[in-house]
């Protein structure tokens, strides 16, 4: 590959110039793939090698200083980022949403973006996580009948996990396998959500946990947002923090590499304690997942939460211990429920 030709007209005098001397076309950014100067065309594809130079959603940071931070990233193996997130901070109040598009559906990136945006906007009006998820469900279901006609046969679908933080009060809700964790200063992390996944339900019904997690269907989800979803009953939980710790929301692009609560806790804690800021910890967690393979899109949100009067016990006091499902939990699924891979 020569570094000296204009991607549009193959003139060799364009090296280092802002415009091609032969065709006069403005030379844009060099192509990150083949390096040709001015390679990236208006549609985002290199005019030489054809590779997509990148999309805005490939990597997004949201830095809310010491209050919260979130990062979403395309990962190493997927061609686009089908995860989406929402992070809103008003004083000490935090609303956060993570959504993961179902790859086998059509336009899953649109589904996750719609879900996160709709749920986030609803939370700004009222901190009702169930209402936010149901609103997101309606918006994602409507996508099937708009836009590209192919959406009708494989409707856009996604997961969602939603959390609100008001002082020491945390409310969460979810559908699918995107997770929320409580990370105390020491000890294992507490998973606040329970995956709507084949493996989780198989284990709940008595299957061997190791065998169930190794099954090809292990990650197939049993509940999702989309036009073809069964009636959605968001599963929710409410907690009051005693002491201090971190609320962590993430998509499976991160937790796949940290399957057990001990490794999750020690890894996230190590990144939080690396001495940087909250956003640098979120970024380095994404780098950790990418270094481990980056097999899926990665999204992580970190929100420090503490009780006004710190107590010796740092674990969250839950309204209904243990910190899993609340009263509106949906009925347990059967093993032959419809699933999405």
């Amino acid at each position: 590959m020569t570094m000296t030709d204009c991607a549009s007209c193959a003139d060799e005098r364009a090296a280092g110039a802002a415009f091609c001397e032969a065709c006069g076309r403005a030379l844009g950014a060099p192509c990150p793939n083949c390096g040709i100067p001015g390679g990236v065309g208006e549609d985002g594809y290199c005019q030489n090698c054809g590779m997509l130079a990148g999309r805005p959603r490939d990597h997004i940071d949201i830095d809310c200083g010491e209050v919260a931070a979130a990062v979403t990233d395309r990962g190493r193996r997927h061609h686009r980022n089908e995860d989406a997130m929402w992070l809103a901070v008003r004083g000490g109040d935090v609303d956060v949403v993570v959504s993961d598009g179902v790859s086998a559906s059509f336009d899953p990136d649109v589904a996750s973006e719609t879900a996160a945006g709709t749920a986030g906007a609803l939370l700004a009006e009222s901190p009702d996580v169930s209402a936010a998820i149901l609103g997101a469900k309606r918006a994602v279901a409507e996508l099937a009948s708009t836009g590209d006609p192919r959406r009708a046969t494989s409707n856009p679908a996604c997961t969602i996990v939603v959390a609100t933080v008001r002082g020491a009060e945390i409310n969460i809700g979810w559908v699918g396998d995107s997770r929320a964790y409580w990370l105390p200063p020491e000890g294992p992390a507490e998973q606040l959500t329970e995956d709507d996944s084949w493996a989780t339900h198989a284990i709940a019904m008595g299957a061997d946990p190791i065998a169930a997690m190794q099954d090809p269907k292990a990650h197939a989800i049993t509940a999702w947002l989309g036009a073809d979803a069964s009636p959605v009953l968001p599963r929710t939980g409410a907690f009051t923090v005693v002491g201090a710790g971190h609320l962590v929301l993430c998509s499976d692009g991160l937790w796949n590499y940290l399957p057990d609560p001990e490794s999750f806790a020690s890894t996230v804690r190590a990144h939080l304690h690396a001495g940087g800021t909250l956003i640098s910890a979120a970024r380095s967690l994404v780098e950790f997942a990418n270094a481990a393979g980056g097999a899926d899109n990665i999204t992580v949100a970190l929100i420090p939460v503490s009780s006004p009067a710190p107590a010796p016990d740092s674990s969250p006091a839950t309204d209904s211990a243990p910190a899993t499902d609340s009263a509106v939990d949906s009925a347990p699924a059967t093993a032959d429920e419809p699933v999405k891979e």
């Binding site: 549609d43 090698c49 193996r77 061609h79 006609p149 494989s154």
Partner: protein
């Protein structure tokens, strides 16, 4: 903008895959509210060789030519060529074009009465004269109708030489009357000149055929529309085929247009829709890579009417990469159907009944599965279809020559599938 170009494809490729397929549907609502953007010239070429005296062909051809003349819009340039051993201009005066009006059309109809059948068949010479007449009106929508009833009598290779020199100058629809002409010969002309070929078995069918061709020609509003295909470095175009309304391979008609781009002629356009199958070979990408495999534009001169992107996305997810796009699968089948029929006819002529049975069987299966009823009915005139689903057929002992020629000429006709994936 009256044109649209829409790509149908499964952009997801398995790791290591290097072949990208897409169907591009080009639709035009007719430019400038159905008005022509250029002038138009029509030339009618009627075989007047001695054999045309048989079965009342020459009188039917006169009737048909008159009917076609009556279909020419006012203001369109036209001429009529009588085809014998040389090309003779029947109307207007040699070397000239008439401008269509009630008066000139009446003059033309009178001159057609002078058309007599005597002499030989020299298609190369006829087409060459047509090209010379069209050359007076560069930029026009240039269309010819060629009618013959026999084999070309020119020296071997001359017709091909002429076609090479005039390709792209005008489009030509070819019709053979009776059964003593060669499908391969007319197909060669139609393919080179982006036209159609068909049989008119009975002379009485000529008038309707000519009226239909001329009416369609009058509906064309743009002269020279092209498909421009850009591909990235290290990628190459394996083929570009029109696949609807009929199969026509355009791969060899490419002319280079700047770095990594080429143009393929689509001929003249009216308010219509056609489908093209584009197949690109690309270097293999890594998981998560997204490549623009081709940028396909509908162009006329320097004007880009519409554009569509053909993408390649490599994924480890076999659920995504294993899906074959319905349009691509359908038209791959329609192209195979045309090939199977032509191979079957050739094998049957060569006396290879076994190969003929296999090819026709496959054709029956493809026609049935794709809902191409017209082709299935034509096949049934040449073979007994015992079970279309499994492709079980038996060769018929006695086949009408006209039926086999109809199957041959119409083997390239395709049908559309629903637009959803």
């Amino acid at each position: 903008m009256p044109y649209t170009a829409e790509a149908f494809q499964n952009e997801f490729l398995a790791l290591g895959a290097t072949e990208v397929n897409a169907i591009i549907t080009v639709t035009s609502s007719g430019s400038e509210g159905g008005r022509r953007t250029a002038g138009a010239t029509e030339i009618i070429i009627v075989d007047a060789s001695g054999s045309m005296q048989a079965e009342g062909r020459i009188s039917a051809a006169r009737q048909a030519a008159k009917a076609a003349v009556e279909c020419i819009d006012d203001g369109v340039n036209f001429a009529i060529i009588a085809g014998v051993s040389t090309a003779q201009q029947l109307f207007p005066a040699p070397g000239q074009l008439a401008v269509s009006s009630p008066q000139t059309r009446a003059d033309a109809v009178r001159s057609i009465d002078r058309l007599q059948a005597s002499g030989g068949t020299a298609m190369g010479a006829w087409l060459l004269l047509a090209a010379q007449l069209f050359a007076q009106r560069p930029g026009d929508i240039a269309h010819a109708i060629l009618l013959t009833d026999g084999d070309n009598g020119e020296r071997h290779g001359y017709l091909e030489q002429v076609l090479d020199s005039i390709a792209g100058r005008f489009t030509c629809d070819c019709r053979g009357v009776g059964v003593n002409w060669k499908v391969s010969e007319l197909r060669k002309i139609a393919t080179a000149l982006l036209g159609t070929v068909d049989i008119v078995a009975q002379p009485s069918g000529l008038t309707a055929a000519f009226e239909q061709m001329m009416t369609k020609a009058m509906g064309k509003t743009s002269a020279d529309v092209q498909l421009k295909v850009w591909t990235p470095v290290n990628a190459s175009v394996r083929f570009v085929k029109q696949v609807e309304p009929e199969v026509m391979d355009l791969t060899g008609k490419r002319t280079e247009d700047g770095p990594r781009a080429g143009r393929y002629p689509l001929g003249s356009w009216g308010a219509e829709s056609r489908d093209y199958h584009v197949c690109i070979d690309v270097p293999a990408g890594a998981a998560g890579d997204e490549m623009l495999a081709a940028r396909v534009s509908v162009v006329e001169g320097d004007t880009v009417h519409a554009q569509s992107l053909v993408r390649a996305v490599w994924t480890e997810d076999t659920v995504l990469s294993a899906k074959i796009n319905r349009q691509v699968a359908h038209y791959t089948g329609q192209a195979e159907l045309a090939d199977a029929i032509q191979a079957g006819i050739e094998a049957r002529k060569a006396g290879d009944d076994r190969t003929a049975t296999i090819k026709f069987g496959r054709a029956a299966q493809l026609a049935h599965a794709s809902g191409n009823k017209a082709t299935e009915e034509l096949l049934a005139t040449v073979v007994d279809i015992e079970d279309a689903a499994t492709g079980t057929v038996r060769l018929r002992r006695k086949v009408e020559a006209a039926d086999e020629m109809a199957l041959d000429t119409r083997s390239t006709k395709t049908v559309r599938v629903g637009r959803s994936q």
